[in-house]
Point group: C2
Chain length 448, copies 2
């Protein structure tokens, strides 16, 4: 769809039909306008952006990637930039300032009114990836002693530009959060009722210093549209809304995917990430894993004679190590994800261990049987015995390594996602070789 | 916190302090009550559930895992079950009926009123994992020709038990969806205005037959609280709310994590999944990958003489194959996740390929250098040359395999997540051996 629209837009640009362009734009939802803008030729972008009705231009702006934002800012006048910044939601403004180069941010901060500057400084004062960075200070609060009618009047007066009007907060005179009441409960209530009568006194809130991932967990758990953010005294500071939290949830999942493949999480999107950044995010792990792989190298060198005497044995090394690595990747991924979603709890480690011991044994027996068949086919009975037994043991041990490592990491207050598939594979490779050589030597000695 | 509360609750149960128990419960948010219930002794669960005020008991019920739901249903009378079912939100009821054994579902369906039965049948009629299964038919719709005051009266009358009151839908006389207007816009508007004046005519909707993952993408993209669901004629059927979509987003991410480690996605939580299910979800892939690993076995057997003549070469096999597998896992994970979030588009495959070619070359050169150092240390100059060159080529090729396979799968309309780390590793193992033997033979011949 967007491809065809883009052609039409390009046509209108070429014909300089500005008012048609403006009309066409106003038919799209904001994220689609942002997309169209990014697909336009670079020279046309600022021009198209200027055409947007002022009411939506700041919304569109907040949907752009930071590179494109920077580029558009360069093309705007002082006054246009100022208007844009003042119309941006405080949380989107924080994100923008976070991602722009420091010099640019400083220049932009000078354009703000003292009041907006203070809001921005407040948000930027919280640590990266904290809830404080996500929140918006735009919310409407009422007092428990007001009537519903008074509260509705207040909402009408204050609410024009609040994006979080779906939930109204009740605070005491010191702005301490007392409750959160959905807007529709005000509408369904009798206007003469007191606000206090609508209160349930079971408000869920989060500290501004908490990790943003915790906001995701709380929203998933309590199914609330917006999470009020408080300081250590319980004073209401702002609100985190579901759309920000969904974005965070997706970003955190992406981080965990990358960690799972031993990639240091990328800061921006893949498209935005440069080659040097991509290289850096991967080479550290690859080189680090070489160190783990040195164990395998040493083991192979140590058992040189054994290898040389029965060269057919070496044929099975990639198969055996591969199968062990696959099994370990499976169990570690199940554990790491289970720990991340709360499905698996460290306190119940014994249950997980017992379960995986049985599953691993079942997998090991099946794979061991496959090993016996392959061994018989490719190398005779002795080889079959060695390959079958090694396979059984490798699978059971690799499976347990995949279970234990994430649990131990969590217990040590480290991120269980460090137990990435490549790390597990490298560890199970060395362990697998040890098992392989031990069993080979034992059986070869026993037979002769 | 819950541990301490649980002790207090157990105490109250032992002392048969029912009214205190009821008071204590009412202080907790619903998900916490569900947690406390599941932590209670099995014999006390039905008893505690009966104590819950009727207004929240069905909410608490919908937070329980399906096993616990089934257990509680067994302990309730006919009449209690009926009340519970009628109070459940239609979408939660659908989930319940989906997960219970068929016989039980049939029995429960008989308890519903004809009207509720029809709603449930409608939802259950949609395919699994479709949007139709997620939606709730509880929404409030108004007509464009009404005044805001009339609309608010209608909302007050209809809205008592609608969970989706934050957004009001505008339909024509044939229930075709015309627009979605946030509730607060009705409150901020003049009561004498027409509803039509509040409309923006840019409503986003989704088909009931669409995959539920599409609902996640749309909500993330358009930042809306609730997604209206329509049939092929545009008639409004129901609404999907953000809390259901967040749950789906998490479940889909978990599925992708499992696929990424070659585990067939589990149906329920890890805790609920039995040993046989876990075994099945993994053994198919492990055995399938053995077939891919047979290639490596064949290659090793084919180059037996080469291996026997320079046994020191074999020492490096785990290191070389391991590094190739790690590199392929990195690039395939970046691609698969990028494709899932829309960060990477198949249509721009050439850009991804070019980028990864350069990144792979940089990684390969660094790792190749490490290979030369290790080779010199462990086996002399000839080995160093072979290991270094092989490492360089393996890294570049493995990296490209990780990029190309997900793109090809997507292009073939298959799930790119099939390109799991274990599959990539098994493929890069065989490719890596091929490169290793080719380079070894070439250099050994060239030297002698």
């Amino acid at each position: 769809m967007l491809e065809r629209d883009m052609a039409q837009i390009q046509e209108l640009i070429n014909q300089q039909q500005w008012s048609e362009l403006r009309d066409l734009f106003s038919q799209y939802p904001v994220p689609d306008i942002a997309d169209l803008l990014m697909r336009a030729q670079q020279t046309d972008r600022v021009l198209l952006f200027r055409l947007l009705p002022r009411a939506i231009s700041s919304d569109v702006f907040s949907y752009l990637e930071s590179e494109d934002q920077n580029e558009i800012l360069k093309g705007l006048t002082h006054e246009e930039t100022r208007n844009l910044l003042l119309n941006l939601r405080p949380d989107d403004r924080t994100v923008l300032f976070e991602e722009l180069p420091g010099r640019v941010t400083q220049k932009l901060l000078n354009l703000l009114t003292p009041e907006e500057l203070e809001k921005t400084r407040l948000l930027l004062g919280y640590p990266e990836e904290s809830v404080g960075r996500l929140m918006t200070p735009d919310y409407v609060a009422v007092r428990p002693e007001w009537t519903v009618g008074e509260a509705l009047d207040h909402i009408r007066k204050k609410g024009r530009d609040s994006e979080t009007l779906n939930i109204i907060y009740v605070t005491d005179t010191e702005w301490k959060l007392m409750d959160a009441v959905e807007l529709h409960r005000f509408i369904l209530a009798d206007p003469r009722q007191k606000v206090a009568e609508l209160m349930s006194h079971s408000v869920i809130s989060i500290s501004a210093f908490e990790d943003r991932e915790e906001a995701v967990h709380m929203m998933l758990r309590y199914d609330i549209l917006a999470l009020p953010v408080v300081d250590s005294e319980g004073v209401l500071l702002g609100v985190v809304t579901f759309d920000d939290v969904m974005d965070v949830a997706q970003a955190e999942a992406t981080e965990d995917f990358h960690k799972g493949a031993a990639v240091t999480p990328l800061k921006g999107s893949y498209r935005e990430t440069g080659i040097w950044e991509l290289y850096k995010s991967r080479i550290v792990w690859l080189l680090g894993l070489v160190v783990v792989n040195l164990l395998s190298l040493e083991l192979m060198a140590y058992y040189e004679e054994l290898l040389a005497s029965t060269i057919a044995l070496t044929f099975f090394i990639p198969l055996l190590l591969g199968s062990g690595g696959n099994t370990g990747s499976q169990s570690s991924t199940i554990m790491v994800r289970g720990l991340a979603t709360g499905d698996i709890e460290v306190s119940q480690w014994a249950a997980s261990l017992a379960k995986e011991l049985i599953v691993g044994l079942a997998l090991g027996l099946t794979m061991g049987l496959a090993g016996v068949v392959l061994g018989t086919w490719k190398g005779g009975l002795t080889i079959a015995l060695i390959v079958g037994l090694t396979m059984l043991l490798i699978i059971v041990v690799a499976n347990l390594i995949g279970v234990i490592l994430p649990l131990v990491l969590t217990k040590l207050d480290l991120d269980p996602a460090v137990a990435s598939n490549p790390l597990i594979t490298s560890i199970t490779d060395a362990t697998g070789l040890l098992i392989f050589f031990a069993i080979s030597r034992w059986i070869l000695v026993w037979i002769h």
